[in-house]
């Protein structure tokens, strides 16, 4: 059981439904063995229910649930009503969900595209089958045929505790990576349906722990790790000391809360000390230092990541994003730049403008938030950075396109910029670059296997299985092309792969950020300015 308190109060209430659900979705630790790395992934034959036991833990901290605005004592007694009300609300607010529930023709084109299906062989992990879980409820309760003739007639599902359990299982075996939507003739984006389903589950009291704890921390404390302001200052001062020591340059800085700096830089808080993330932080600092651009980080907006994206609860995402907007205004910066993070980039670039409007007091040359890769490539192209590529000669580098970047928004104003720009940066600082197989990169990239709320330790089974296609593709590049380093631009990918690489027998040091490579190659010294 995820938490004893929940069970106690549930039995105290004699809330049978809750007791049933708690029993059905109780967390069991499951170990999954990695597969052998052959360099190819195969689409498995279906094995029904093979992964039905893998469920994440529930959030049971009453204060956190209260702050998030969700029921605090497990499944609420009148859950069916609330469930349908929430679903109705989402159907009226999100055309994506409504349309995608309506128009799927079950053609099967997406069935072999999901890394979780490839990894687990559980047919409910086929994107269309995952969406059908919600579609069945939709057909039963939201079409007149279903209302009139019942669930048998429309091939629908009646609401039941079992259904909730299945939802909770499979909507937390989707990393909202959107790969399925690339191949769907109508662009049906299962991620949108997963986000909706998670919010519906939340509204009836089934709240996943890992992701919502983080959403709560980001809203109340300001970052995903829950670091207080002084802890952030300490961590960044430590980074600065390290930098000054290793580079022997006394004025290289990691500025915090500097009013009037040119650039507000936001990045996932993992970059402050997790490994290999921190290496990229050194890289950013060196780039800013060498470019001679004054920059600052903010203790108020100490987090770039925005887990609010992962559920269709607009409020969470907005509240977290607001901090960046406020920090940019309070620090009177001229530009906003985001570090290496997939979902941060999607929220900052695609949604921020909708939620808070343009950062219109910014420098008119840079009115929009920029990605650090756009920034660095621009400097490289202008020759503003002195680079010694041989510093990276020990590496043959490949790049993992993080899905939220790859299938999200343009970069550099062109539709394929998100592939070309990061690769441009890598090529600018490394001599040897090789791509992984064509069907596993660019817009067809496979997720690392732990995106969008599945990075918790309780999800390790899913993570091991979901990583299979990526691991196979990497091992192929390793074997055929001698690749020994994968460059990433997403904090979650970094965390996941640096755990999965050793699991699959590959050294952890082969995972790192793009700016880690930049940091190594950059020649510090007399500034040439820009």
């Amino acid at each position: 059981m995820a938490n004893d308190k929940t069970t106690d109060s549930a039995q105290g209430n004699t809330n049978d439904a809750n007791a049933r659900v708690q029993e059905l979705i109780k967390f069991v630790k499951i170990k999954e063995k990695p597969v052998e790395l052959t360099g190819h992934y195969e689409v498995p034959c279906i094995k029904p229910d093979s992964f039905i036991d893998v469920k994440p833990q529930l959030l049971s901290s009453v204060e956190q649930l209260q702050r998030l605005g969700y029921p605090t004592a497990g499944l609420i007694p009148d859950w069916k009503e609330v469930f349908l009300k929430k679903m109705d609300e989402i159907l009226k607010k999100y055309r994506s969900v409504k349309l995608f529930l309506d128009i799927c023709v079950r053609c099967g084109a997406c069935t072999d595209k999901c890394h979780y299906f490839i990894g687990t062989a559980d047919p409910r992990n086929m994107p269309v089958a995952r969406a059908e879980l919600m579609r069945k409820v939709y057909r039963r309760y939201f079409t007149w045929q279903g209302k009139l003739f019942g669930s048998k007639f429309v091939n629908g599902s009646d609401l039941s505790e079992e259904l909730l359990a299945v939802w909770y299982t499979y909507f937390y075996q989707c990393s909202e990576c959107r790969r399925c939507a690339v191949f769907c003739p109508y662009g049906i984006d299962t991620a949108e349906i997963t986000m909706a389903a998670r919010e519906i589950l939340n509204s009836v009291g089934l709240v996943q722990k890992y992701m919502h704890e983080i959403i709560d921390k980001a809203q109340t404390i300001g970052n995903n790790l829950g670091m207080q302001q002084n802890a952030i200052v300490n961590a960044l001062e430590f980074v600065q000391d390290e930098l000054q020591e290793t580079t022997e340059i006394p004025d290289i800085q990691v500025p915090i809360d500097v009013e009037g700096a040119d650039v507000l830089f936001v990045t996932p808080s993992a970059d402050f000390f997790a490994s290999p993330h921190i290496e990229s932080l050194y890289g950013y600092a060196k780039v800013f230092h060498q470019a001679g651009i004054s920059w600052t980080m903010s203790t108020h907006a100490s987090e770039g990541g925005n887990f609010g994206l992962f559920v269709h609860n607009y409020g969470h995402m907005k509240k977290i994003n607001k901090r960046i907007w406020e920090a940019a205004r309070d620090l009177k910066v001229k530009r906003v730049i985001g570090g290496e993070c997939g979902h941060m980039w999607r929220v900052l670039s695609s949604y921020s403008n909708t939620m808070f409007g343009p950062f219109d007091w910014l420098d008119s040359r840079y009115p929009r938030p920029q990605h650090i890769c756009e920034f660095t490539l621009d400097l490289l192209n202008r020759g503003a950075l002195k680079i010694d590529k041989t510093a990276n000669d020990e590496f043959v580098v490949t790049m993992h396109d993080s899905c939220q970047v790859a299938r999200g928004l343009e970069m550099g104003g062109t539709e394929f910029g998100q592939f070309e720009i990061p690769r441009g940066v890598i090529r600018g600082v490394c001599n040897r670059f090789e791509d992984m197989p064509e069907n596993t990169i660019r817009e067809r990239t496979f997720c690392c296997g732990a995106g969008q709320g599945l990075l918790g330790d309780d999800m390790i089974a899913t993570r091991v299985k979901g990583a299979i296609p990526r691991m196979q593709a990497y091992s192929y590049a390793k074997r055929e092309k001698g690749v020994n380093f994968v460059a990433l631009i997403c904090a979650i990918c970094k965390a996941q792969l640096s755990k999965m690489f050793p699991t699959y027998g590959i050294p952890m040091e082969e995972v790192g950020g793009i700016h880690q490579l930049v940091g190594r190659a950059i020649v510090l010294g007399a500034k040439e300015g820009i």
Binding site: I46, L91, K92, K93, Y94, R95, S96, K98, L99, F100, D102, I103, C104, V105, R106, C107, G108, A109, C110, T111, D112, P123, M126, V128, E132, W144, N155, A181, V182, F183, C184, P185, Y186, G187, I188, D189, E192, Y314, S349, S350, Y351, N353, T354, M355, G357, P358, R368, P369, A406, R407, G408, L409, E410, G413, T414, E415, F416, Q418, R442, E443
Partner: protein, 262 residues
């Protein structure tokens, strides 16, 4: 025999009117109230999404005309599916000859290949049916409704093909007259007054051709009536799909969320 003819005529004309009405109203309701009116709060275009409107239109045209997205994933389904949609469209265009007078040259020209096209259509449909149960993963997600649609269209195609062969050839002149009468604005009111026009005015017993024609027509209108309430709405829904129809420029152009006005 006039009794049967009367019932048949009543049935056929009412299915046409009811079918058209249900289709039109249902379709418009769905598209307007459910797709068009439902707001899309955030910008979620999907790579490779162009950054200009004209680019987006081109991409969508590629999807609609050549099934570009589908072609990336599954070759068999892409080819069979495309052939099915293409030949089906050709057959629909061919049928315009019953409604447009004089018949445009293009449609007459199509007539030469009509038989071939309809056989190809039938074959592609059968392949799609086989794929539905033979392909393990697709079979897993298939529901009865998927077969219903396929078999309805197979029924339409088969009766269509039959009508081109003796002894099932219906009287073309009569069919034409039937259509013309139906298109007459007063026809529904005549029906209300229970004075049906002599639609198939042979006066005598139904010929095999009439029966087949009746089936053909019934299947078509069953399909039309079913259309707005089924997955067939993908035909219109595609154009509203936010991963495909939004311009990939949210940093430059602010997308307003209609329900977030703070």
């Amino acid at each position: 025999m006039t009794g049967i003819t009367f019932i048949v005529n009543m049935y056929m004309s009412s299915i046409v009117y009811v079918g058209c009405a249900v289709f039109a109203l249902g379709f418009i309701y769905k598209v307007y109230f459910e797709y068009y009116k439902t707001p899309q709060p955030l910008v979620i275009p999907q790579t490779p999404q162009p950054v200009t409107l004209s680019g987006v239109i081109l991409r969508m045209a590629g999807d609609v005309l050549f099934f570009r997205s589908l072609s990336k994933g599954t070759t068999f389904l892409f080819i069979t599916g495309w052939i099915f949609h293409f030949t089906f469209l050709m057959m629909i265009i061919r049928h315009l000859r019953y409604f447009i007078h004089p018949v445009p040259g293009l449609i007459t020209a199509l007539g030469n290949g009509a038989m071939f096209l309809s056989v190809v259509l039938l074959v592609s449909l059968i392949l799609l049916v086989i794929r539905r149960f033979a392909e393990e993963r697709t079979a897993y997600v298939t529901v009865l409704a998927d077969y219903v649609v396929l078999f309805l269209i197979i029924g339409i195609t088969m009766t269509g093909i039959m009508m081109r062969c003796e002894p099932f050839r219906p009287d073309i002149v009569a069919v034409n007259a039937f259509v013309l009468q139906l298109m007459d604005l007063k026809a529904p009111f005549k029906m209300l007054g229970m004075h049906p026009a002599e639609l198939l005015h042979k006066g005598q017993a139904l010929s095999p051709g009439d029966v087949i024609f009746m089936c053909h027509l019934s299947f078509v209108f069953f399909l039309l009536m079913y259309f707005p309430f089924s997955k067939l709405m993908h035909a219109a829904g595609y154009f509203f799909s936010p991963t495909r129809n939004m311009v990939n420029n949210p940093r430059d152009v602010r997308h307003v969320n209609p329900w977030d006005n703070s």
